[in-house]
Symmetry: C2
Subunit: 492 residues, 2 copies
C-alpha cells in the first residue's frame, strides 16, 4: 500500500543551476516488469528493423550477392529431388543426405572457390575412403581383440598429422578444406566400418552422391550468372588504382584549397581522401581471389594460365603506394599552420605533379580494365617525371631567393639602426613544403614501380595492342556501368 | 631399327665461342619414358622432402600447433568409442556419425573459436531442426500432392535468405558458420522428413550426439594446454609494438650508419627494418582473434568482459604508425646521395628522437604484456617530446648558419672578383633532412596516439598499478621465454 501511495507522489530535486527538476514517479512492482518487457521488445524490433535495413542496402548495392543466394536455393531444391522422386530414393536411400550436405558446404560465391572446394572434397573423400577401407581390412585381419586398437591408433595418428598439416602455409592456402574432409572421411569410414557390413558399397554410394552434388554446384555456379574469382581480382586491382588516384588528388587539393575557402570544402572530400584505406586492407581478399582464380577455366578475356600472381605483385605495390599517401595525408593535415605565403609558390607545381600522377594511375587502371596496352602510358609517365622535376626546381629556386631577400633586408636594417633584428629562420617554414615534395617524389617513384608491374602483366597476359583500343573501350563502358560499386570491396 | 642406330651415334654442334659441344645421345623410345619417370619420381621425392622439412621447421618453431594436432587426434579417438562400445552403439547407432563429424568440424585452434563454432552449431541445428519439423508438419497436413511442393519452396526460400545473410558483415563476423549449419539442418530435416517416419526421434538423437561432440571438443580444448584467442591477440599487439620499435631503430640507424661503414652492415639489419610489414598485415588476424576472444570465459589476467575492442583500436593505430615507418624507410633508402656533411649535424638529435620513441613503444609493450600501468611511461613520453623539440631546433639553427656563411662567402667573392659565382642552393640538400624530421614528427604524433590508446585500455581493463609491477615482471619473464616466436605472426 505504502509503495503504491509513494508511486503516486511527485518527487522534486534541486539541480545545481538553481532550478528544481521533476523526477519520474517510480513504478509499482507490477508495472516494472511490464515496462522492462516493453523496452526489451521495442529494442529487439528496432534491432531487427536496422538489420533488415542493412540487408536491403547490401542487396541493392550488390545484387550479385542476392543472385548467389537464389543460386544456392535452386541447387538445394534440385538436390532434394533425391528424396522426392521415388526411383532416385530407392537407389540412394539415406545416402542422398550426402548430396544435400555437399551442396550446402561446397557452393561458394565464386566459381573458382566452388571448383576448389569441389576438387578438395572429391579428392579428400576418395583418398581417405581408400585409405580407410585399407586400414579397416588390415584391422579386420588381426583379430577381434586388436581391431579397435589398430583402428583407434590409426585414426589418432592420421587425424593428428592431417590437422597439423593444415597449419603449413602451402596446404592452408589450397588444401585446407581437403585436409578437413580427409580427416572426416577417414574417421567415418575406418571407424564405422567396425559396425557396417557393406562398407565398399556404402563408400561407393557416398562418393557418387558427392560427385552428383559437386557437379550440380559447379554447373549452376558456372551457368547462372557466374561470378569469377578472376574477374573479382581483376576488378579489385584496377579499382584500387582509381582509389589511389582519388585519394592522392583529394589530399593534395585539400591542402592547397584550405588557403582560400576554409574548412567546409574539406569535409566533402574526406571520403575521397580516405579511399586509400580500402587499398591497405585488400591483401587477404586479393590472395584468396588469386588462389581461387587458378582453378577457373578460361573465361572472357582471361586464359586458363592467366598470370594471376602478377596481380598480387601489383597489389603489393599499390599497398606500398597507399602507405605513402596515408603518410602524406597525415603530414599535410598536421602541418596546416602558417606559411600560407609560401604555399602559394609551390601550389601550381605540386598540383601539376599530383594531377599527372593521377593521370598515370588512371591510365594504368584503364589499361588493366580493358586488358589493352595503353597508348598514352609512356607519355603520361614522362609528363609526371617532368612535373616532378619542375616542382623540385621550384622548391630549389624558392628559398634561396626568399632567404637572400631576408638576409639583405636584415643587413640593411643592421646598417640603418643599432637594434639588431634576428634573422627569421625561414627553413622551419620550408620544412612542410620540403616534406610535401619529398613525399610526392616517393609517391612518383612508387607509381613508376606500379607502371613496371603493369607492363610486365601486359606482356605475360598478352594484352591487346593499343590500335585495338577503341573497340575494347566501347566494350568496357557497358562493363563499367554494370560493376560500379561505390563501397569498399570486401571479401565476399 | 634406324632410330636405334641413330640413338647410338654422337652428335656435335659448333658453339659460338669456337668450341664444338657434344650433344647427349638421344634416347631410344624405350629409354625415354623411363627417364621421364625417373625425373618425375625424383622431383616428387624432392618435393615431399622439402614439404616435410617445412613441416618440421614449423613444428619446432610453434610446438603449440603440434599439440593442437594431438588434441584433435585424442578427441576423435574418444568419440570413436561410440562405435566400439556396444551399449553406446546400441543407443545411437548410425547417428554416432554426427558426433565424429562435429568433432572434426568444430575443433579449432583456439578455445574461443571452438566455443564460437560449438555455439553456432548447436544453435543453428536447434533452430533449423525445430523450424524443419514445423514446416514438415504443415506440409504433411496439406495432402500428398502439395507436400513436396511446400517443402521445396520452403527450402528454396530459407536457403536463399540464409545464404544471402552470410554476406551481411555482422552475421559474417559472428554467425557465418551458424547460418551454414542452419541451411544444412533445415534442408536435411524438412526434406528427409518426407521419407523418414520417426523424425522427432532422429532429430533428438542427432542433437544429443552433436551436444556430446561439442562438449568433448570444448572440454579437451580448454583442459589440455588451452590456446586462448585472447592470449594470442594480447601477444600479437604487444609484439607488434616491439616490432615497430625494432623497425624504426633499424631504419634510422641504417641511414646514419652508412656514412661511416658502408653497405655490409645494412644487410644484417634488413630483416629488422622489414619488421613493420608484419604489423601492416595483421588486421585480419586481430579481428578474428578479437571475435573469438569475446566467447572465452575469464582466464588468467583477463576477465570475461575484457575490453578486446580496445585492442583492435590500438592495432589500427599501430598500423598507421607502421605505414609512417614504411614511408620513412622508403624515403631514407632513396635519398642516400650526397649531403654527408649535413647528415652529421642532425645525426645525434635524430638518433635521440628515434631511441626515445622506441623507449616509449617498448614501455607500452611491457605495460600491455604485464597488464601493469607503467611507471616510466609519462617520463618516456616527455623525453620523446623533448628530443623532438631538440631535433627541430637543430634543424632550425642549422641551415640559417650554413646559408649565411655561404651567402656571405659568395658576396665576398663578388666583391673581390668579377666572376659571379652562383649561390649554391643549399635547400635542395636540406630537403632529405627536413623530410626525416617531418616524418619523425609524424611518427612521434602517432606514437602519442598509441599511448592514449594504451592508457584507455589500461583504465578499462583495470591494469595493475605500478607498485605491483615487480611481481608481475617476474611472472612475465617466464611467459616471455615460453612464447618468444621470432617469425611473423600469421592467422593460426
Amino acid at each position: 500500500m505504502e509503495k503504491q501511495v509513494l508511486g503516486g507522489l511527485q518527487w522534486r530535486i534541486n539541480v545545481p543551476n538553481g532550478m528544481s527538476k521533476e523526477l519520474d514517479p517510480e513504478c509499482s512492482c507490477y508495472c516494472k516488469p511490464w515496462l522492462a518487457l516493453k523496452s526489451l521488445v521495442g529494442g529487439l524490433v528496432a534491432r531487427v528493423l536496422r538489420f533488415l535495413d542493412k540487408a536491403w542496402a547490401l542487396g541493392v548495392s550488390e545484387p550479385k550477392k542476392v543472385i548467389h543466394g537464389f543460386k544456392v536455393g535452386i541447387a538445394l531444391s534440385l538436390v532434394s529431388l533425391f528424396y522426392y522422386v521415388r526411383p532416385l530414393y530407392d537407389v540412394f536411400g539415406g545416402n542422398a543426405m550426402w548430396a544435400v550436405m555437399t551442396v550446402v558446404v561446397v557452393f561458394e560465391y565464386t566459381v573458382g572457390a566452388t571448383l576448389s572446394k569441389s576438387i578438395n572434397r572429391g579428392t579428400g573423400t576418395f583418398l581417405a575412403g581408400s585409405l580407410g577401407i585399407g586400414v579397416h581390412w588390415v584391422a579386420s585381419q588381426s583379430g577381434e581383440k586388436f581391431e579397435p586398437i589398430i583402428l583407434g591408433i590409426s585414426v589418432f595418428l592420421l587425424a593428428s598429422a592431417a590437422t597439423f598439416s593444415r597449419f603449413i602455409p602451402s596446404v592452408k592456402a589450397r588444401f585446407d578444406y581437403g585436409a578437413m574432409i580427409f580427416i572426416l572421411t577417414f574417421s567415418l569410414v575406418s571407424v564405422s566400418g567396425y559396425r557396417v557390413d557393406k562398407l565398399i558399397g556404402m563408400a561407393q554410394q557416398r562418393l557418387s552422391t558427392i560427385a552428383i552434388g559437386t557437379s550440380l554446384c559447379i554447373f549452376i555456379s558456372m551457368c547462372i550468372s557466374p561470378i569469377w574469382a578472376g574477374d573479382e581480382l581483376h576488378r579489385l586491382i584496377h579499382r584500387n588504382m582509381e582509389k589511389l588516384a582519388e585519394s592522392l588528388e583529394a589530399s593534395v587539393a585539400n591542402y592547397f584549397r584550405d588557403n582560400q575557402s576554409g574548412y567546409p570544402s574539406q569535409e566533402d572530400n574526406s571520403k575521397k581522401t580516405q579511399a586509400y584505406k580500402c587499398v591497405l586492407n585488400s591483401k587477404a581478399t586479393e590472395e584468396s581471389m588469386a588462389n581461387f582464380a587458378r582453378w577457373e577455366p578460361a573465361h572472357s578475356p582471361f586464359n586458363f594460365r592467366h598470370p594471376w600472381k602478377e596481380y598480387l605483385k601489383i597489389g603489393a605495390l599499390l599497398r606500398e603506394c597507399a602507405c605513402c599517401i596515408e603518410t602524406l595525408s597525415g603530414c599535410l593535415n598536421s602541418e596546416k599552420q602558417g606559411m600560407e605565403h609560401l604555399k602559394g609558390y609551390l601550389k601550381h607545381a605540386s598540383m601539376a605533379v599530383c594531377s599527372h600522377s593521377c593521370n598515370v594511375l588512371r591510365e594504368l587502371s584503364k589499361s588493366v580494365k580493358t586488358t589493352t596496352k595503353s597508348s598514352k602510358l609512356y607519355l603520361s609517365v614522362g609528363e609526371m617525371k617532368f612535373a616532378l622535376q619542375e616542382l623540385q626546381n621550384a622548391l630549389k629556386s624558392l628559398p634561396t631567393q626568399l632567404i637572400l631577400e631576408q638576409v639583405l633586408a636584415s643587413q640593411a636594417n643592421e646598417n640603418k639602426s643599432t637594434t639588431k633584428k634576428e634573422c627569421a629562420p625561414p627553413v622551419m617554414e620550408v620544412i612542410p613544403l620540403a616534406t610535401l615534395v619529398s613525399l610526392l617524389t616517393e609517391i612518383v617513384a612508387r607509381i613508376e614501380e606500379i607502371v613496371d608491374g603493369v607492363i610486365k602483366l601486359a606482356e605475360l597476359a598478352e594484352f591487346k595492342a593499343f590500335n585495338e583500343e577503341k573497340i575494347a573501350q566501347n566494350q568496357s563502358t557497358s562493363n563499367n556501368q554494370r560493376s560500379d560499386n561505390p563501397s569498399c570491396e570486401t571479401e565476399p
